[in-house]
């Protein structure tokens, strides 16, 4: 491609601004904003992680040793809010920002100024939310789901509601930007059905975001007016209904779950073919499965509410709809395995995390299927079995995919290779300790330990101690990740090639490493055999 020459000529005129403030605070460059998102997500990951460490420390043995129960509830609430809205979602937006224009051959995001705004809202939203921990009355302690009437007892409700509004605005703007980019800015020849699966997954995720963030905003606004303006949406004393909140919340909340996993599916669908050196198996089925899961995500919300006393018909409907989700999800897992079958595999760090993702996410999917069975869920609901389930799909699912993506594209971002040895050390520590951390929680839940309790009967002591030890070691393992990142960005002597990985296909690998400040100022020429999924017409 003649691209590189074009780029060199223009480098001087279009380089990054020299001033730090101009470069990072006023940026409209998708790569810089992507970096900002990723750094922000990493910061939040460690803040949310430190909450988790405190939680596991208190749960290390029976009896209260470290904190009052109310503070424990603040920790569980904040841990969830920070990890979901601060770490996982911004990390995916960051990856989308960085990679979608590169993958579809666009020079930047469609709406660069809005891109800047949608990022810079986030730090303020989280300052607002985290500040409540230092205010009289403390932070939110009613769980991240903020069920009324309990959440209405909190003094920090207004802070959290405004923070959530800000996050919602940020997410919606980010989603609009991604949709506009994908639908309008693809290079000629990059047809929709030739797009990388990661781009597809983000396109669908963005529609989910636009559809459900307003539902969340509405629900929390009703909380706000119930508390401060005398409305009675959720107050039975005034004719309201606490269960109404749960319906609205989970109408947001369940698609939200897929917002946090569909881009992960996309990432894994990029990485596995690269390291299997074989096109993704069943590209169309993969895209269709994502769309199918997205659709189903709108009609399963009440499976979070099987114990609220729904009518029998509703329980049956939501049970069946929920079980259906395992079909397209199963297709995805089978297709990843089929992609590996007959390949020529190597196991660099991104591939290791992807393989772990497929196995451990599937385990989370299995427990999800078990929970769909309403009578069994009457026992599982609100126990550590649930905690184990959603940490398998969110930590070894979403988070592992994000880490895999970071290793996969880091050489493209920085121009340097990370240390493969330390990457593998990070992987093996993470994958072992995360299972020590979360697997015993299945047993705790089955034995009858409710979630969100700061103290427990001695019957639960053994597995809690094992889980806590796993937690501390998993937390410590993530410091290795920081080390690998810092080394790669600042100290690595090993330069990355443009292609980086032998089996890598797709437009992002045709630009130099590190990716120059501006790419694809002229649209690239698309060669179908260059695309990761091979020939879709087979």
């Amino acid at each position: 491609m003649s691209y590189a020459a074009t780029h060199d000529q223009h480098d001087d005129h279009h380089g990054a601004p020299k001033s730090f403030f101009q470069r990072w605070c006023m940026s409209t460059n998708h790569k810089d904003i992507g970096t900002l998102y990723l750094v922000f997500a990493l910061t939040m990951f460690f803040i949310g992680g430190s909450f988790a460490m405190l939680i596991r420390a208190e749960l290390f043995k029976p009896g209260l040793q470290l904190m009052q129960p109310y503070f424990f509830n603040e920790l569980t609430t904040m841990h969830a809010l920070v990890m979901i809205f601060g770490a996982i979602m911004p990390a995916f937006v960051g990856l989308g920002n960085w990679m979608i224009p590169l993958m579809v051959g666009a020079p930047d995001m469609a709406l660069p100024r809005m891109n800047n705004l949608s990022f810079w809202i986030l730090p303020f939203a989280f300052l607002l939310m985290l500040s409540t921990l230092f205010l009289p009355g403390g932070g939110p302690a009613g769980g991240w789901t903020m069920y009324p009437p309990l959440s209405l007892q909190s003094n920090s409700l207004a802070y959290v509601v405004f923070a959530i509004h800000l996050m919602g605005i940020s997410s919606i703007m980010g989603a609009i930007n991604i949709i506009a980019t994908i639908l309008n800015m693809r290079a000629p020849g990059m047809d929709l059905m030739k797009m990388p699966v990661f781009v597809w997954s983000w396109l669908i995720t963005a529609f989910l975001l636009i559809a459900v963030m307003p539902a969340l905003a509405g629900a929390v606004t009703m909380l706000l007016t119930d508390k401060y303006f005398g409305t009675n949406f959720f107050n039975p004393g005034g004719g309201g209904d606490p269960v109404l909140y749960q319906h609205i919340f989970w109408f947001f909340g369940h698609p939200e779950v897929y917002i946090m996993i569909l881009p992960a599916f996309g990432i894994i669908s990029e990485i596995v073919p690269t390291f299997a050196r074989k096109p993704i198996f069943g590209y169309k089925a993969m895209v269709f499965a994502i769309a199918c899961i997205a659709f189903l995500s709108f009609i399963v919300w009440a499976h979070h509410m099987f114990a609220v006393g729904l009518p029998l018909g509703a329980e049956v409907f939501f049970m069946y709809a929920t079980m259906l989700i395992s079909v397209p999800t199963g297709v995805k897992v089978f297709n990843w395995v089929a992609t590996m079958w007959g390949g020529s595999m190597t196991f660099e760090t991104p591939m290791l995390f992807s393989v772990a993702f497929i196995i451990l996410f599937t385990i989370g999917g299995f427990s999800g299927l078990m929970m769909a069975l309403v009578p069994a869920d009457f026992q599982y609901h609100d126990t550590y079995f649930i905690v184990a389930h959603f940490h398998y799909v969110l930590v070894t699912g979403a988070l592992f995919a994000i880490i895999a993506a970071a290793y996969y594209w880091m050489p493209k971002w920085t121009g340097n290779m990370y240390s493969e040895f330390w990457g593998k050390v990070h992987f093996w520590c993470s994958v072992v300790f995360v299972n020590v951390l979360f697997f015993p929680q299945h047993f705790l839940g089955l034995a009858g330990m409710p979630r969100r309790i700061p103290d427990y009967n001695v019957a639960f002591a053994n597995f809690n101690m094992i889980s806590s030890i796993g937690g501390f070691l998993f937390g410590a393992s993530q410091l290795i990740f920081i080390g690998v990142l810092i080394h790669c960005v600042f100290f690595s002597k090993k330069k990355a090639t443009d292609r980086v990985w032998e089996g890598a296909k797709g437009l992002e690998w045709t630009v130099p490493s590190p990716a120059p400040y501006h790419t694809f100022e002229l649209p690239p020429v698309i060669h179908d055999d260059e695309l990761a999924h091979g020939h879709v017409n087979d």
Partner: protein, 310 residues
């Protein structure tokens, strides 16, 4: 049970004897409560509680088999198709037959599971034909039990609060210096799983629970019944159980309800029908005697009006 009356001492003794007897005779009853290294759900102690237990086991088995097949294929692939073993990547990326098969088979498995689950759920939802009604009200952070009717007759003013027992409450304070392992009733550790006054119900009786809340949402959960259901202000939920085995069954609030959510356990003492009738008569007599306030429920606040708040 801080009763000073002779009647209540007698009951307590009968109780203890019965509990010990039940433990000796029905080892399964003890296993309905959590124990160290427990790996699986309890089978429970009611007519319905085996339903979730079996569904859990069946679905776990199905998942395990599927997992072994999928992960097995994956590990074979990872072993056979390694570049370091000289594997050369093939070009195919599509196979309609295989895709149809692995979409259809899961659907068939799901239909089987859905059929089993629906049958179990339908039997759970049928509260008709109950022989007894108990109203359960959740409060931050205790439970109230009101006996509504038994064998078709209304129960006269039997109702009481049930909250965390004193020993657990003392031990659970931050920096109490007390050992949770020392909180015992007999040989059983009851730390955070014991109450001052348990709910007493008869065995072999279909009991309908009507469940609501006086403040925030709670969830009433005794694993031995096989279910939990939320206690929601303004809403009266109902569910039923029929205990097969006398014994003491422990549970906890399962819905986050504020700072002491972890400290509002539930204890259900299941007695034989004869013993229960005696107990209930005693309670009714005590309630009748007290307009006079010094009764067994000295610690309990005035009864709240029926019908939930709001």
């Amino acid at each position: 049970m801080t009763s000073g009356s002779i009647r209540h001492h007698g009951i307590r003794r009968a109780f203890t004897t019965l509990t010990i007897g039940a433990l000796a005779l029905f080892g399964g009853a003890a296993q309905a409560n959590p124990h160290s290294w427990q790996l699986n759900l309890t089978r429970g102690a009611s007519t319905w509680s085996p339903v979730p237990y079996h569904l859990n086991n069946i679905s776990l088995a199905v998942c395990t088999v599927i997992g072994l097949l999928v992960f097995g294929a994956m590990f074979i692939a990872m072993f056979r198709f390694r570049k370091s073993r000289g594997a050369v990547a093939e070009k195919w990326s599509h196979n309609t037959m295989v895709e149809v098969i692995w979409t259809t088979i899961p659907v068939l498995i799901l239909i089987t599971l859905a059929w089993l689950a629906t049958a179990g759920l339908t039997s759970w939802a049928d509260t008709t034909g109950s022989q007894m009604t108990v109203k359960v009200t959740g409060y931050q952070w205790k439970w109230r039990y009101d006996y509504v009717d038994y064998l078709g007759k209304p129960v006269n003013k039997v109702g009481f609060m049930s909250k965390l027992d004193q020993q657990s409450d003392d031990t659970r304070q931050l920096d109490s210096g007390m050992d949770p392992y020392a909180v015992k009733v007999g040989d059983e550790n009851t730390y955070l799983l014991n109450v001052d006054k348990p709910l007493v119900v008869p065995a072999d009786t279909k009991i309908r629970f009507v469940i609501t809340s006086g403040d925030v949402i709670h969830s009433w959960w005794v694993p031995a019944t096989g279910w939990k259901i939320d206690a929601i202000p303004g809403i009266v939920n109902s569910a039923w159980t029929n205990f097969t085995t006398p014994g003491t069954y422990r549970g906890q609030c399962a819905e986050l309800c504020g700072q002491d959510h972890g400290f509002m356990p539930i204890v259900v003492v299941v007695k034989s029908k004869a013993d229960f009738a005696t107990w209930l008569a005693g309670q009714e007599a005590a309630a009748g005697a007290s307009a006079a306030p010094q009764t067994a429920q000295a610690a309990a606040p005035a009864p709240v009006p029926a019908g939930g708040q709001g």
